[in-house]
Symmetry: C2
Amino acid sequence: MADTDMIPDDDAQRAFDAFTQAGQAIDRAVWLARMPRADGIARLVALPMPARAEVFAYMPLDAQADFTRLLPEGDLATLVNGLDADDRADLYNHLPPEEGTRLLRGLTPEDRADVHRLAAFGEATAGAIMTSDFATLDPAMTAAQAIDALRRAAPDSETIYRSYVTDAGGHLIGAVRLHHLILAPDDATVGALMDKAPVSVTLDTGREEVARVIARYDVLAVPVVDAENRLSGIVTHDDAADALQAETTEDFQKISTVMPFSQSLRDAGFRVLYSRRIVWLALLVFGNLFSGAGIAFFEDTILAHVALVFFLPLLIDSSGNAGSQAATLMVRALATGDVEMSDWGRLILREVGVAAALGLTMAAVVLPLGAWRGGPDVAMAVGLTMVVVVMIGSLVGMSLPFLLSRLRLDPATASGPLVTTISDAVGVLVYFSIATAVLAI
Amino acid sequence: MADTDMIPDDDAQRAFDAFTQAGQAIDRAVWLARMPRADGIARLVALPMPARAEVFAYMPLDAQADFTRLLPEGDLATLVNGLDADDRADLYNHLPPEEGTRLLRGLTPEDRADVHRLAAFGEATAGAIMTSDFATLDPAMTAAQAIDALRRAAPDSETIYRSYVTDAGGHLIGAVRLHHLILAPDDATVGALMDKAPVSVTLDTGREEVARVIARYDVLAVPVVDAENRLSGIVTHDDAADALQAETTEDFQKISTVMPFSQSLRDAGFRVLYSRRIVWLALLVFGNLFSGAGIAFFEDTILAHVALVFFLPLLIDSSGNAGSQAATLMVRALATGDVEMSDWGRLILREVGVAAALGLTMAAVVLPLGAWRGGPDVAMAVGLTMVVVVMIGSLVGMSLPFLLSRLRLDPATASGPLVTTISDAVGVLVYFSIATAVLAI
C-alpha cells in the first residue's frame, strides 16, 4: 500500500519501457503491482487501451483495489469499461461497498446490472467464475454471416474460437467452432455446422467440476446454463485452470489441518497463518487425550514392562503412516473423479488385502527388534500389534474421506492428522491389551 | 483384457449408437475401453475416420495396447496414420518392442522417425508431452496467404488458433493468432502482425513448469525450442493440464510416503499398491527407533513418574501436526511457484513468530490438563515442552522441503511422515529432558 512519489531509477524505467513495448501483460502486471503505488498508477495510465485494462486485470486483487481507490474518476471509468465482465465482478466483490459503487459509476446501466448479477453467485461455483463476454449465434445464419457477426462483436481471443448457438428464448441449442465456420462453404448454416449436444454446466456447478469437464472434453470454454437451459455465461479454460489450482491448494491445506486461505503463502501475514493453523492443532490435542487415557488405564502394565514403551512411538506412527497413505490416496482420487462414492465397498475389500500384507511385512521387520529388546513374548506382542494397527489405520484412513463426503464435508478436511489421532488412540489400546494378554500380566 | 465374442445387449447397443452419432469422443472412448475387447474393436472400426482415431486417442494406454495387438494390420495402419504425433509416441512407449515395430509399420519413414524422436525424450519433460502437429508460417507471407496455408495444413482445432513463425533456419521468431490474421487487411504481412517475443520452453523443461507457463500467460499452447532456439514442437493447454494433474497427484502420493504411480487408483492392483506403500512404511520404522531409544534412555524417569507417559502422544503428535502443516504449505507453495528457494530466510523468520504463538496457545491448552493429572511441576514440564516441540516441529517442517529441493529431490518426498518421525524423536528427548530437570529426578 506504499504510496510515495519516489522516482524509480533509470534501469527500472528502461526495463519497464522494454516490457511496455514487447512484454507479456502478466509480467507487466506483476511489475506494476510491486512498485510504489503512485509510480504504478502513472505507468498504468501511460499504457494505451486495451493493453491498460489487460495488464490491470492480471494484477492481484489487493493491488487492483488500491489502484481503484487512487485513480481519478475519469481514468477509472475508462479502465473499468475495458475490463472483462468476470474481472469487473471479482474486483467489485473485493471492494468495500462505497468503493464498489464508485467503481461501477462509469458503466452503462446494463453493464452495471451485469456486474451485480455475476457478483451474486456463490463463491467457487460456475456462476462466480463465468464471464458474460461471449457472442451467440442464430442457427439460421450462414457461415459467412456468422463470421461477420463474430468480427463485429470483436470479442477477445479466448471467446471467439467456440461460439454458442441459442434459440429465440436464449436456450442453448448448439456450439460451433471458428475453424468449422472458416472451412465451411459460405452458405452452410450454423444450424447444420453446429455440435448439437454441447457439454454444459449449470450456475451452481462447483468450480472443481467445471475444470474437470473442461479437461475431460478438451474444450477451450464451457457454457453455463440456468435451470431452464438458458445460456447465462461461459467459463474459459484459463479461469477454470486457475480455479482448479486454487481448489487443489485448498485440498493440500485441508489435508494438513490448515483452514483454507486463498492468499499467497509468500505474502500471508502472521495473523492469517496463526488463525488458520491453531484451530485444528488445538482440537487435535483433545483427540490425543484418548491416547493418554488409554496409557493411564494401562499404567500397571507399563510399570511391569517398561520396555514396552520403547515400541510405542513405532507402533502408533506405523499405524498413522499407513492410514495417511490410504487417506491421501483416497482424497486425491475423489478430487480428480478417479474414484466415486459407490466404489467404496470394492475398494475396502482390496484395502483389507493390501493392509494385511503391509502389516505382515512390518511385523517381520519389528519381530527381531522385539526379541532383542524384550525377549520372545514382547516380540510376539509387538508383531501381533503391528499387523492389527496397520490394518486398522489403513481401513480408517481409506474410509474417513468417504465418511466426510457422506456428511457433506470436504473429504480432505484434516484427514491426515485426524487419521493419525484416531490411529494413536486405537494403537495404544490394542498394543497394551495384546501385551497384557501375551505377557499374562 | 477380456476378449470374448459375447454380444452386448440391445440397450447398450442403442445407447452406443446414440453416442456414436452425437456423443463426445472421450465418453465413447471410456465406453469402448470397458467393453469386451472384441466388441470394442468391432465398434471402433465401424466408426468413420477421423472420429475413429480421435476416440482411440482418448482410451487409456492399457486399452490402446490391447486394441493394437488385436487389430488387423490394415486397420491398424489406417488408425495410426490418423493419430496425433504425441499420441503415437505415447502408445509406442507403452508397447513391448516387437509390437511397437508393428505399430509403426503403416507410417511413412518421416512419420516413423518422428515417433522415434518424440519417444526418446525424458519422461515428464516438455519434449515428452509436445506434439509435432503444428503449422509454421513465414514472416513474409501476407495474412491472406497465411490463412490459406493454415487451411491447407488443416491441423486440428487445438493448433490452428496460434501459429508459429520461423526463419529459414527453423528458429522461432514469432507467434501470431488466427483472429489477428482474420481481422487484418489481406496484404498485412505475418512479420508485422506477429508477437515478436513469444513465450517458449525448452525440450528439457519439466512438465509442471510448462503447465505453469501456459497458465501464467493464458496461452492455448506453448512452443518448445531446442538449445539453438529451433522450433521442435508445441505443448497444447489440454496436454499441459493433464500433465499438471498427474504431477499434482504425484505430490499428494509423495507427501504421504506413497511412491508415485501413474495408474488410476480405481484400477490399481494389489501389487502396485503394496509395493508403492511398503518402502517408506518400513524405512520410517527405523526412524522411529530413535524415539524408542530416547524412551529407553529415560526409563528411570518414566518409572518414577509414570503419569508423564499420559502426555507423550499428545506432545509428539502436536509437534508432528504443526510440522506437517508447515511442510505441506511449503511443498504446495514451491510446486505452484508461489515461493522460491531464495525466500527461505524471510519465511523462516516469520515461521519462528507464528510457531511461537502456536506453541504458547497449545501450552495454555495443556497446562490445566497437566495440573490435573500430575500437579504444578508436571504442568510446567508439559507446557514448556509444548512450546519447544511445536516450534521445533514447525521449523523442521518448513525447512525440510527446501532442504530436499536443495538436494535435488522433490520437496514433496515423504515430507509429512518424515517430519512426524523427526518430531517424535526430538519430542521424546525434549520432553523427558525437561521433565527430568523440572521434576529434579
